[in-house]
Symmetry: C2
Subunit: 341 residues, 2 copies
DNA sequence: GTTTGCGATGTTAGCGCTAACATAATGTTA
DNA sequence: TAACATTATGTTAGCGCTAACATCGCAAAC
C-alpha cells in the first residue's frame, strides 16, 4: 500500500470531519456562505478556525478549471510610470477574489515571451501587458490564451484583444509643436532608454519640427542606457557643449527633464530663457520643481483602472463598448518653456 | 456517464499520446530533460510545440505538494524605495523556476494580514514581507507558515524567521548628529506618511538633537498624508512661515527633501546657508540636484538580493549563517548641508 | 394523503499533474 | 554465463478541491 505524504496541512476533509459534514458543504460554506444553513456554517467556521485551515488555491484552481490570477507584465518596476498603472490594478483587483501576478520583462522582448508562457501556465483569468511591441510568438500565445488580454500604455489599430493608453506619436508631436510655437529655434531631443514608445514620441516630435521648419537631425541625442536624473544632467551638459546654440530640449521622460534642469542650472544657463525644457508623463515632481517643468501629462492610474474595468466587463459576460480606448494626454505648460519671446 | 469539461487545452496526456510515450516521460522531459533519452526528448518537444502545450502549474503544484511561488508583500508600489528591493527580488527569482507573487498592503496592517492569508493559500516556497510591524495574527500565520520568511527594510532582535535591513533609529540619529555637527542651531524634522519606520527615524533624530542640546519639539512637523515632492515644497513653506528661524531640516525621505529644496528656492532662501536639508534613502536624484542633496544612503537593492540569498540557502537545505542581517547605511554629505560655518 | 417543488446536503468522479513503485533494456563484473 | 548494477520508461494511485448529479426533508398544492 503506497501512500503519498501530502503537505501535512489540514485539508477540507479535516474540516468536514471536525464539523461533521461533507467536504462539499465546507467548500460551499467557504465560497458562498449563503448556500449553507446558519447552523452548519457556524460549525464549519469554528472548525476552520480551530484547525487553522487555509484553502489550497492550487487544488481549487485545478478542480474548477479556473484560477483567480490576473497576469500583469511591465518592462520596469522602478519606472514610476508603470508603478502608477500597477497601483490602479492592485487597487481594483487586490480587494476581491483575484490575485495579481506581476512580471518584469526589463524591456527585453524575449523575457516578456518567457513570462507570458509561464503566466499562461497558470491559466490566468486575464492578462495585462505593457505596450504593443510583443514578439510574434508572444502575440500568438496571447491570442490563443482564451482569456481577456489588455495591452496598456499605448494605442493602435490592431490590438491582441483590447488596448487602453494614448498615442506616443501624438504626444511627441504636441511637445514639438509647443516648442516651435514658443519661438524656440534650435530644438533638440534628449532620449535615454529608447524603447519603442520613446521612438514613437521621437517620430511625432520630428514631424512637428519638420512641419515647423526646425528639424535638425544633429540635435537628436539618444542612448539605450536607463534614464535617470543624473543621466539627464550629464547628457544635457554634453549636448550644450557640442551644440552651444541649442535653445530647447524635449526629454523622452521626466527624470531626464529634471536632470536637464539641474544640468543647466549647474552650467549657469537660465531656464526658460537660455534653454526651454519639456518632459513627458508629468510626474508629480514636475509641477513642484523650481522653475516648474512643462510636460505632457498622461493618466497612468486611469489607464490601469480602465484596463481592469474592461477585464471585469468581459469576465462578467458583457461585451465591452470599445476594444480600443485612447485616453489621450494633455500638454501642461509651465515655467520651463514660458519665456519672454 | 458524467464528464467534466476541463479547460479544453492540451494536457500532458495529449502530448504523451502524440509523442507515443507515457505521461510521466513527458513530465520528466519537461522538468529535467537529462532524465529522458535524446530520441524521445526530441519527439516530445515536437509534440509540445505542435500542440502549443503549456504545463498547468496548478496541477503540478497540487501533485508535487509544492508550489514555486515566492510571496512578497510591500506597503507601496510607487515608493521607489520598495521598487528597488523588488527589482532585486525579481532579478534573482525571475529567471529560475520561481514565480514572484506581489502584494500591496498600502501601509494598512489589516490589509497585510489579508494578503498573508491569501498568499499562504498558495503554499508558497517562501515569503518576504516589509518591516517588522505586523499584527499579532499576521505574525502567527507567518510563524506557522512552514516556509522561510524574511522581513526586509528593517532590523530587530526578534524576527519572525529571518530579517535583513538597517536600523531606522540609527539612520535618523546619524542625520541629527550631522546637522548638529555642521553647526545648525534650530533643526527641524519634516515627515510625511509617518509609518512606523519613519517614527523610528524620528526617535533616533530626537536622541541626537537632545544629546547635542538642540532639541525643540516645536520643530517637529509631521503628517500622515503620502509624501511627495509637491508636499515637501508646500510644507517647508508653511514651516518657514511659522518658524522663520528654522535653519536646517531632516526630511523623512528624499521626495520630501527634494520638495523642500524647491520650496526654499521659491522662497528665495539659499541652500545650505539659510537652511540645510538632509533626506533619507539617497535616491539617485539626490546627487544630481542643484545644489546636490545630503542624504542617508541605504542599499535597497542589496536588501532584496540578500533576502533572496537567505531564502535560497534555506530552500537548498543549508542553515543560513545569520538570521539577522544589518546592512547599515551611509551618510552622504553633499552641498545641501555643507555651509560655511 | 399523495404529489410537487425547492432548498439544503451528500456521493462520486474527475481536474492535470507527479511520487512511488514496477519493469524492461542495457551494460558490467566475476 | 549468471548475477548484478544501472538506466530508461511505464503503471498506478493519489495531491485537495469542486462539477455534476443524487437524495433527502419539508412545506405548499392538489
Amino acid at each position: 500500500m503506497r501512500k503519498r505524504k501530502g503537505a501535512g496541512r489540514p485539508t477540507i476533509a479535516d474540516v468536514a470531519n471536525k464539523a461533521g459534514v461533507s467536504t462539499i458543504t465546507v467548500s460551499r460554506a467557504l465560497r458562498d456562505p449563503a448556500m449553507v444553513s446558519d447552523h452548519l456554517r457556524r460549525k464549519i467556521n469554528n472548525a476552520v478556525r480551530k484547525l487553522n485551515y487555509v484553502p489550497h488555491s492550487h487544488a481549487s484552481a485545478l478542480a474548477s478549471t479556473r484560477s483567480n490570477i490576473i497576469g500583469v507584465i511591465v518592462p520596469s518596476l522602478t519606472n514610476n510610470v508603470f508603478a502608477e498603472s500597477l497601483r490602479a490594478i492592485y487597487d481594483a483587483f487586490g480587494q476581491g477574489a483575484f490575485q495579481v501576478q506581476l512580471g518584469n520583462s526589463r524591456y527585453v522582448p524575449a523575457e516578456e515571451e518567457r513570462l507570458v508562457r509561464t503566466f499562461l501556465g497558470q491559466r490566468p483569468s486575464a492578462m495585462i501587458v505593457a505596450g504593443t511591441d510583443q514578439t510574434d510568438v508572444t502575440r500568438q500565445l496571447l491570442e490563443n490564451a482564451e482569456c481577456p488580454v489588455v495591452q496598456i500604455m499605448d494605442v493602435g489599430d490592431d490590438p491582441i484583444d483590447m488596448i487602453v493608453g494614448f498615442s506616443h506619436f501624438e504626444g511627441g508631436k504636441a511637445a514639438g509643436v509647443h516648442l516651435v510655437q514658443q519661438g524656440y529655434k534650435r530644438i533638440g531631443f534628449l532620449g535615454a532608454r529608447m524603447d519603442p514608445r520613446s521612438y514613437r514620441r521621437l517620430e511625432g516630435f520630428k514631424e512637428a519640427l519638420q512641419f515647423g521648419g526646425r528639424y535638425d537631425p544633429d540635435l537628436i541625442m539618444t542612448t539605450t542606457v536607463s534614464s535617470s536624473v543624473s543621466l539627464g544632467a550629464e547628457l544635457i551638459a554634453q549636448f550644450c557643449a557640442r551644440r552651444p546654440d541649442l535653445d530647447a530640449v524635449f526629454c523622452n521622460n521626466d527624470d531626464m527633464a529634471l536632470g536637464a534642469l539641474f544640468g543647466c542650472q549647474k552650467a549657469g544657463l537660465s531656464i526658460p530663457d537660455d534653454i526651454g525644457i519639456i518632459g513627458f508623463n508629468d510626474l508629480e515632481m514636475m509641477a513642484a520643481a523650481h522653475p516648474s517643468l512643462t510636460s505632457i501629462r498622461t493618466d497612468r492610474y486611469a489607464i490601469g483602472r480602465h484596463a481592469v474595468e474592461m477585464i471585469q466587463s468581459v469576465l462578467s459576460g458583457e461585451t465591452p463598448d470599445k476594444k480600443i480606448v485612447d485616453l489621450g494626454f494633455e500638454l501642461q505648460v509651465r515655467q520651463s518653456t514660458s519665456r519672454a519671446k
